[in-house]
């Protein structure tokens, strides 16, 4: 068992080392990514100021608290660019080019391979900017978070990331059946921008949609509340449960997809 874990760990390190090596050939990218992240952040802050108006509140959230939500969104967007997009958008090209066969014949779990094979350093500016924004906004509130509260907040952030991963994986995995809808993950990215703002800023009907259909609430608002020290037990438990269920869901989904692939491909 230990040998297996070591092998997976070694594989992960070599995946990411070779992946970064391939990417870092293009240095201009770093400058552009930095500018893009900063530009987007500046624009989002500007829009937030406009929305908050003279009262300085959005959906009952203070401007400062809304910054935490924006920071978490930027962090998750960076995570998407680092890990989710470079890996999961490749599933469709594997299916089209027939290279999925090579993945299946390696003595390593195919879901692990497909989810972690690449790492793009270009998402890192977004991650750093997100963390910086969260830190700055929290510092401005002047309140300190207890150790337990911090642990809960981190757990909810991870839960949000796992839910995001599951959404991406499910949509990308559909290309085993339908190659023509490869851009479904792009649609996801464009609709998740709703996570930029706390969900209480949306009308009640949309709040339901953003909890049950497209769980944006669990991605940014719930972890933000935890970071601000006002986590509600119900939402926290709901988020953790959603994360666990969606992760198991991806496993079952993938096994189903592989069964189809191996009986249908010629």
């Amino acid at each position: 068992m230990a040998h297996r874990v070591r092998r997976y760990w070694r594989s992960l390190l070599s995946f990411w080392a070779t992946s970064m090596e391939a990417e870092l050939e293009y240095q201009l990218n770093l400058v552009i990514e930095l500018l893009a992240v900063l530009g987007n952040l500046a624009g989002s802050l500007f829009v937030l100021v406009l929305l908050a108006g003279p009262s300085g509140e959005l959906g009952g959230w203070s401007w400062n608290s809304a910054l935490v939500v924006l920071g978490i969104y930027t962090l998750l967007d960076g995570f998407t660019s680092c890990v989710l997009q470079p890996n999961l958008s490749k599933i469709v090209s594997h299916v089209q080019n027939g290279t999925l066969d090579f993945v299946l014949l390696k003595p390593i779990d195919s879901q692990f391979w497909l989810s972690t094979r690449s790492f793009s350093p270009w998402g890192l500016p977004g991650v750093v900017a997100g963390v910086a924004l969260i830190g700055w906004a929290l510092a401005r509130t002047g309140e300190a978070l207890s150790l337990g509260g911090l642990a809960l907040a981190l757990a909810l952030l991870v839960a949000g990331a796992l839910i995001l991963y599951s959404l991406w994986f499910f949509l990308a995995g559909l290309s085993i059946w339908f190659v023509k809808v490869w851009n479904a993950t792009e649609v996801l990215r464009y609709t998740l921008v709703a996570g930029r703002y706390p969900i209480s800023a949306y009308p009640p009907a949309l709040r339901v949609v953003f909890t049950l259909v497209l769980p944006v609430a669990f991605l940014t608002t719930v972890p933000a509340e935890a970071l601000l020290g006002r986590a509600s037990t119900a939402w926290a438990l709901g988020s953790l449960a959603a994360a666990a269920i969606s992760l198991v869901g991806t496993r079952l989904f993938w096994q189903f997809a592989l069964r189809h692939y191996t009986s249908a491909s010629s």
């Binding site: 594989s11 070599s14 995946f15 070779t18 290279t99 090579f102 014949l105 191996t262």
Partner: protein
């Protein structure tokens, strides 16, 4: 005799294909009520392969060669029958099965495009759990056999097709698999590169005793490497044996090439055998083996023959002829 390393019993595979008529009304009907057709790709294959054999799968496009290879490597589930490779059921894709096999495809590659092969090799070493020092030793040994040197340090996209295929073989053999599945390994390579790959595979088989299963369109691959040939035609196993046996079976005739002192009309040669070609002073005839001596004697006495050659017709033509008549 030791236990076979590959065992196939009644191996069959059929695919359900949607039957769609062309045109708009066809699309509409297809939307409302799907109709399916069963395509039998492979029917009832039975064969066993001993460790260390080099076996070639022959057949025209669509015969079922690649489907068979994929069933043996576990990439496709058989519809019926049983298959066992290296003591495992391939479709379960257990780790100990995957450690013992490798698949190389001539029209696809697994090497990372933008990086030198060495980087892909490092990834494979990690994935297969090969100690880094041991991996280095194996790379050196294989690179030596494959005549690869500084190519390992150049990005894959900058290598020629032949060099790329050699690097692919290196990456595929790093974990010293017991069974090699090769699907059209010399596809698109020039004559020299093809020869080098064939030499390497023969050499590798001799040195390591690995079992090699190979499909190819190029008869040169099969004649150079395979003592045993499995000819698959329309999903059935048509022939399982040596190439010579196949030739005798397919060609009850032998090819006789004549060069004559004078030009004779075509009709003069009818009755001696099937006329394959007749151009000026050269004539090519196909004569049944039993009548060979008699007919050659008659030809020599009837015409002034400058040169005479008796050979087997090229195997490609025989197989081509087989597929044409049964297709």
């Amino acid at each position: 005799m030791s236990a076979p390393i590959v065992l196939a019993e009644g191996l069959s595979k059929s695919f359900r294909v949607a039957d769609k008529q062309p045109g708009f009304s066809g699309t509409l009907r297809h939307l409302l009520r799907r109709r399916y057709r069963d395509v039998e790709a492979v029917r009832g294959l039975n064969f066993t392969i001993q460790p260390g054999e080099v076996v070639g799968f022959l057949g025209p496009n669509g015969a079922g060669k690649t489907t068979t290879l994929k069933m043996l490597s576990g990439l496709i589930h058989p519809s019926a029958g049983r298959v066992e490779v290296a003591g495992c059921l391939p479709q379960r894709r257990q780790e100990r099965f995957l450690q013992q096999i490798t698949l190389v495809m001539g029209n696809r590659q697994q090497l990372i495009w933008d990086l030198p092969p060495l980087d892909s090799l490092r990834v494979n070493a990690a994935v297969y759990g090969i100690d880094p020092i041991e991996a280095k030793r194996r790379i050196t040994e294989l690179a030596d056999m494959l005549e690869l040197g500084e190519e390992l340090h150049r990005p894959v996209r900058k290598l020629s097709l032949g060099q790329r295929m050699k690097a692919e073989l290196l990456a595929a053999l790093l974990h010293q698999p017991a069974v090699l599945f090769l699907d059209e390994p010399t596809l698109g390579l020039d004559v020299n590169a093809q020869a080098r790959v064939r030499d390497f595979l023969a050499n590798y088989n001799r040195r390591t005793g690995a079992t090699v299963l190979l499909t190819s369109h190029y008869m040169g691959d099969i004649t150079a490497l395979c003592e045993r040939v499995l000819l698959i035609h329309q999903g059935h196993l048509f022939h399982d044996g040596s190439l010579d046996a196949l030739t005798s079976r397919l060609a009850p005739c032998r090819e006789v090439r004549l060069e004559l002192r004078q030009v004779h009309p075509r009709e003069a040669f009818e009755g001696f055998g099937t006329i394959e070609a007749q151009q000026g002073h050269q004539v090519r005839l196909l004569i049944p083996r039993e009548q060979l001596t008699q007919q050659v004697g008659l030809l020599l006495s009837r015409f002034e023959v400058v040169d005479l050659e008796v050979s087997d017709p090229p195997i490609e033509e025989l197989i081509g002829g087989l597929f044409r008549q049964q297709g």
